[in-house]
């Protein structure tokens, strides 16, 4: 019990100390996560939409693959990205290993399937609901797809936030490709791993609590969006 209390104290001390190192770590965590989530959304949302509204050969196979990719162990992704960007790997000439860029790439590989699959589910349900109506009114495909996206915009925001949550708490992949280098590739989660390995459990938990606060904030944002905009009793739209 004492250790948990200590951890909370440590967390608050950390937050209110405005320790430049902590701020640097937080900044990098958010930078990497936000860029990765944005790019994953640019790939995953259109892809999920296409999979939801079109019928083509291998469609079901592709969907199954993406659903399987959602459960990809981060360490495997980390190793895969490491092997590609290692100086002896295919893209080694780019010299990106142990940089924030390669961490973003690993994150994109991890999150894109999640965003794609959740988008697929969201858009497919709207598609099934609207399909007959659109067909009977001869609504063009482009206009239909636009309507699917616009009408599920708030669900799509929660999809993006889900990707964000996964990304910011990820450690297995980015510690391999980023190397957890001080002032360069150290983020919240890899710092927690380091402090744990130093036996500095209170500090590790303290950082964990800050991560938890971020996660709670994201979830509250999700609930807020759901209540404010997805609730049918709400008047303004």
């Amino acid at each position: 019990m004492g250790q948990i209390t200590n951890s909370f104290l440590e967390a608050f001390k950390l937050i209110f100390s405005f320790d430049p190192e902590l701020i640097e770590i937080l900044y990098l965590s958010f930078e990497i996560t936000i860029i990765a989530v944005l790019i994953s959304s640019f790939i995953g949302i259109p892809l999920g939409t296409v999979l939801a509204c079109t019928r083509f050969y291998f469609r079901k196979a592709i969907i199954s693959i993406f659903f399987a990719l959602m459960g990809l162990p981060p360490v495997v992704v980390g190793l895969f990205v490491y092997l590609i960007f290692s100086r002896s790997g295919t893209l080694g000439w780019m010299g990106l290993l142990y940089s924030p860029t390669v961490m973003i790439i690993a994150q994109i590989i991890l999150i894109t399937p999640i965003i794609c699959c959740l988008t697929f589910q969201t858009i497919e349900s709207v598609h099934l609901k609207y399909r007959e109506f659109f067909q009977s009114f001869h609504i063009g495909r482009l206009k239909a797809v636009k309507a699917y996206i616009i009408d599920s915009r708030f669900e799509l925001i929660t999809v993006i936030l889900a990707g964000f949550g996964r990304s910011i708490s990820e450690v297995g992949a980015i510690i391999i490709v980023g190397g957890n280098i001080d002032h360069l590739t150290r983020v919240m989660t890899t710092a927690i791993a380091l402090e744990t390995s130093k036996g500095n459990l209170s500090l590790a938990m303290g950082l964990g609590i800050i991560l938890l606060l971020v996660a709670v904030f994201v979830n509250v944002a999700m609930i807020f969006i759901k209540n404010k905009f997805l609730n049918p009793s709400n008047q303004d739209l």
Partner: protein, 235 residues
């Protein structure tokens, strides 16, 4: 020059799913005017028939022909039993189905909203409407496309009487101004109020097709008699 009377000719229309016949060789000659009410017990094939007419599904066999280019199922609109409402305002729900919105169509939209008792709700989130208002909205949305043929699948099954009255009033008016209406219902009294003619379906086949006045007085088949008197339940 005299315009010929619009007419719909259906021959040998059949539809089946997985080898199970849902509609079997329907042949009918229907006037292009007035309200045709389609009656029948659950599973008789009413909805399938309506979807075939609208072109939402394709028949296995047979054809549906009209006798002029202007009067065609290409220019039809459908109202579903469960209104499908987009997540946006009432007005943009109506205007959504129009490709390029002209100023006169905006005027028409507000007229339609007036006649269907939706005036003043232009900017309201359509999701917040009552079930009946949603159905009135979907009728308004169908009418703004100025369809020659209007298809309605039990539109008043789950809604309050006020909305039913609004809808029936508008349908009668549209019918008298030349829109052909197909109307599926389970409500015998509603059928009596609306029908110019009746198609009575049973097990995917037309058991009876006659003028409304005749059908309700003297149904020729036993099952139609039972249906009217309420012995065949709607389930």
């Amino acid at each position: 020059m005299l315009k010929k009377n619009p007419n719909i000719n259906i021959t040998n229309l059949s539809y089946s799913i997985n080898g199970k016949s849902l509609l079997n060789k329907i042949s009918l000659d229907i006037s292009g005017n007035g309200i045709t009410v389609i009656l029948g017990a659950n599973g008789a094939g009413k909805t399938i028939f309506l979807k075939l007419l609208s072109g939402l599904i394709n028949s296995d066999n047979g054809e549906i022909k009209t006798n002029s280019k202007d009067f065609s199922f290409r220019n039809s609109a459908m109202v579903f039993q469960e209104p499908i409402i987009l997540r946006r305002s009432v007005l943009s729900n109506i205007l959504f189905v129009i490709e390029k919105i002209q100023p006169h169509q905006k005027i028409m939209a507000s007229e339609l909203m007036d006649t269907l008792g939706l005036s003043g709700k232009d900017n309201q989130n359509a999701q917040t409407l009552s079930a009946g208002e949603k159905q009135r909205l979907s009728l308004a949305r169908a009418l703004i496309t100025q369809p020659k043929i209007l298809l309605l699948d039990e539109p008043t099954a789950n809604i309050e009487p006020t909305s039913t009255i609004f809808i029936e009033k508008v349908l009668k008016r549209k019918s008298s101004s030349g829109t052909k209406i197909f109307f599926v219902t389970h409500d015998i009294n509603q059928a009596k109020r609306l029908a110019n003619d009746i198609i009575y379906l049973e097990n995917g086949q037309v058991k009876e097709y006659s003028k409304g006045s005749i059908f309700f007085k003297k149904p020729t088949t036993l099952s139609a008699q039972k249906y009217i008197s309420g012995i065949i339940s709607d389930g």
